[in-house]
């Protein structure tokens, strides 16, 4: 969609003969290269022999390619374990996030009940509260509940979010009410309307929410850092952050 809009804008703005070399390549190519170089450099470092990484002056390109770095990563560290932990955290976060936010978003968008506006206002108001403010009491709360140093500590904060509810509510509001009225006339109750009529229409919004949740729960660093000290329950991010010195790593997500 973005592409077509660009195209429309461009053709409307500046009619040019097709297939002429654009000067913008001279600007964009170096910038794109600058953005890619760090990744490329990392990949090369991960594939080069250990002694070349500490050679002076360092070579731009490794003399030979070796997978020793990756072998060492998976044999001498707990990388597999961290990946598993992170996967569990992210999967639980995504499933809970999508289910709970869809339910609540639908409730706030379409259902009439006492306290709805106050409830929604409270939820939206929490967006203003910075996470740094919540870390200390949440840590104390979790340690009282026995959640510290468990995987649950890492995923409980991601089970639902005000942003998710807001996103889903806005999407549900854009679905025509007639669709639901038709289902209701056919005798469906609220839950059936929600599960069989509304949710299938909301797949794009749920996918968006799932991607956002994946990115933020997978990449979260400060919260697991506080809540998890036991390296059995390290997430990938904690594992990477605790590498001492410049160990060769390559995965970047």
């Amino acid at each position: 969609m973005a592409m077509t809009a660009t195209r429309a804008l461009h053709t409307a703005g500046t009619p040019q003969p097709k297939r002429r070399f654009s000067m913008w390549h001279l600007v964009l190519a170096p910038i794109a290269l600058l953005f890619v170089i760090p990744f490329a450099q990392m990949l090369m470092a991960s594939l080069s022999p250990a002694e070349e990484l500490v050679k002076f002056p360092p070579p731009f390109i490794p003399s030979r390619i070796t997978f020793d770095g990756f072998v060492a990563l998976f044999t001498t560290t707990d990388a597999v374990r961290w990946l598993m932990n992170s996967t569990i955290v992210s999967v639980v976060s995504i499933v809970a996030h999508v289910v709970l936010c869809s339910l609540a978003g639908y409730g706030f968008a379409r259902l009439q009940f006492r306290g709805r506006n106050v409830g929604f206002f409270l939820i939206v108001a929490t967006i203003m509260i910075p996470t740094q403010l919540l870390m200390i009491p949440t840590y104390i709360m979790f340690s009282k509940l026995g959640l510290v140093n468990t995987l649950a500590a890492a995923f409980v904060p991601w089970l639902a979010s005000a942003f998710g509810i807001f996103l889903m509510r806005q999407f549900f509001l854009s679905i025509p009410a007639e669709v639901e009225e038709a289902a209701s006339l056919d005798g469906a109750n609220r839950l059936q309307i929600f599960l069989r009529v509304v949710l299938p229409l909301a797949r794009p919004a749920m996918a968006t929410l799932a991607i956002f949740t994946l990115l933020s729960s997978w990449n979260d660093l400060i919260w697991p850092l506080i809540a998890i000290n036991d390296d059995n329950w390290f997430t990938v991010q904690l594992g990477i952050a605790n590498f001492q010195g410049t160990r060769r790593t390559q995965w970047s997500c």
Binding site: L28, I31, F39, P58, M135, P137, W251
Partner: protein, 322 residues
């Protein structure tokens, strides 16, 4: 679909609790239906609400109480009133953290807004390879702070890093980068820029595509060149987005922690110790929960004041932001 048609009509109308129900509308019946409607509504929103409020408003209030106490998590908490705030504001280390954070905001925010604008303008055209360019610029956005941190320490390693390697091969003097108190914050800002340029770019790209084409056409007919069209027509159209993006980036920059933790851990000589890093050390290294909470509230207040200030400034300049 099958289950919908199988469901008895009356049950559907009862449980639905909608005003569209077809059953006779007696007073008792409507009250019962409204009660059911309330119940259904709350059943939908309650699970998420309990989690969100339980993990935000409740701890936020608790944090305020904590900030008035002296507590290390073990001994019984002692009420000390505004003492934690007083100590915080007279702590030189805290003011150093404030100035480091301020430096980062000044380095990062204008650069990220301008770079985003520039990249969006550059990417907003239909030329071959544009998909490749866009991907190259967007991919770093998904890299985590931990990965970016490792990358930074490697690229900017004074001995073995690519940055110095390039400088050396150009015959320029090598720098100390993250190990130099005067350069460390600059390196962190550059790496955040690398990771987050995609954010401002995406927002500006979307905004550019909303600029009405008839405006551009009118400008062209009036004889404006591209440079004039951009600064006189497109840029003013983008101002609400600029205000939004600036505020958003300032809020994010004030909370810098991850990249500091994964690169310098506050060093060298505390030159990159930000407010959140200071807060984290105070609360979770020194176990001063009261002082940490006070620092968190001060950060919240500062963020709020700056945000409101920027919104008011935008209003006074007649820029619509919110």
């Amino acid at each position: 679909m099958a289950t919908i048609t199988e469901t008895p009509r009356t049950r559907g109308a009862e449980a639905g609790g909608t005003p569209r129900g077809s059953s006779p509308d007696t007073r008792a019946g409507s009250r019962k239906r409204r009660g059911l409607g309330n119940l259904t509504g709350w059943a939908f929103v309650a699970p998420a609400m309990v989690i969100i409020l339980g993990l935000s408003i409740f701890p936020a209030v608790w944090a305020f109480i904590l900030s008035l106490q002296k507590w290390n998590g073990f001994a019984p908490p002692k009420f000390v009133g505004g003492n934690n705030y007083g100590k915080l504001l007279s702590d030189e280390e805290f003011w150093a953290a404030v100035s480091h954070t301020g430096l980062y905001v000044l380095l990062f925010v204008p650069a990220s807004v301008l770079l985003g604008l520039f990249l969006a303008v550059a990417l907003n055209r239909d030329i071959p390879l544009i998909g490749l360019y866009r991907t190259a610029i967007f991919v770093p956005f998904v890299a985590s702070a931990a990965a970016t941190g490792i990358l930074s320490t490697y690229l900017f390693s004074p001995q073995f890093g690519l940055a110095n390697n390039v400088l050396r091969s150009l015959g320029l003097p090598a720098q100390h980068w993250l190990e130099d108190p005067n350069q460390a914050m600059l390196v962190i800002a550059i790496m955040s820029l690398w990771g987050q340029a995609a954010f401002t770019t995406v927002i500006y790209l979307a905004a550019l595509q909303d600029v009405p084409t008839d405006l551009l056409e009118a400008a062209r007919i009036d004889g404006a060149n591209r440079w004039q069209t951009f600064w006189r027509i497109v840029w003013p159209q983008l101002s609400p987005v600029t205000v939004f993006v600036t505020i958003w980036q300032v809020i994010g920059a004030l909370q810098l922690f991850d990249l500091v933790y994964t690169t310098t851990r506050g060093g060298p000589l505390d030159a990159t110790k930000t407010i959140v890093y200071y807060l984290w050390e105070k609360a979770f290294k020194a176990l001063d929960f009261g002082g940490g909470s006070a620092a968190a509230y001060v950060l919240f207040a500062v963020t709020l004041v700056i945000t409101i200030g920027m919104v008011l400034y935008a209003r006074s300049r007649k820029l619509e932001a919110f």
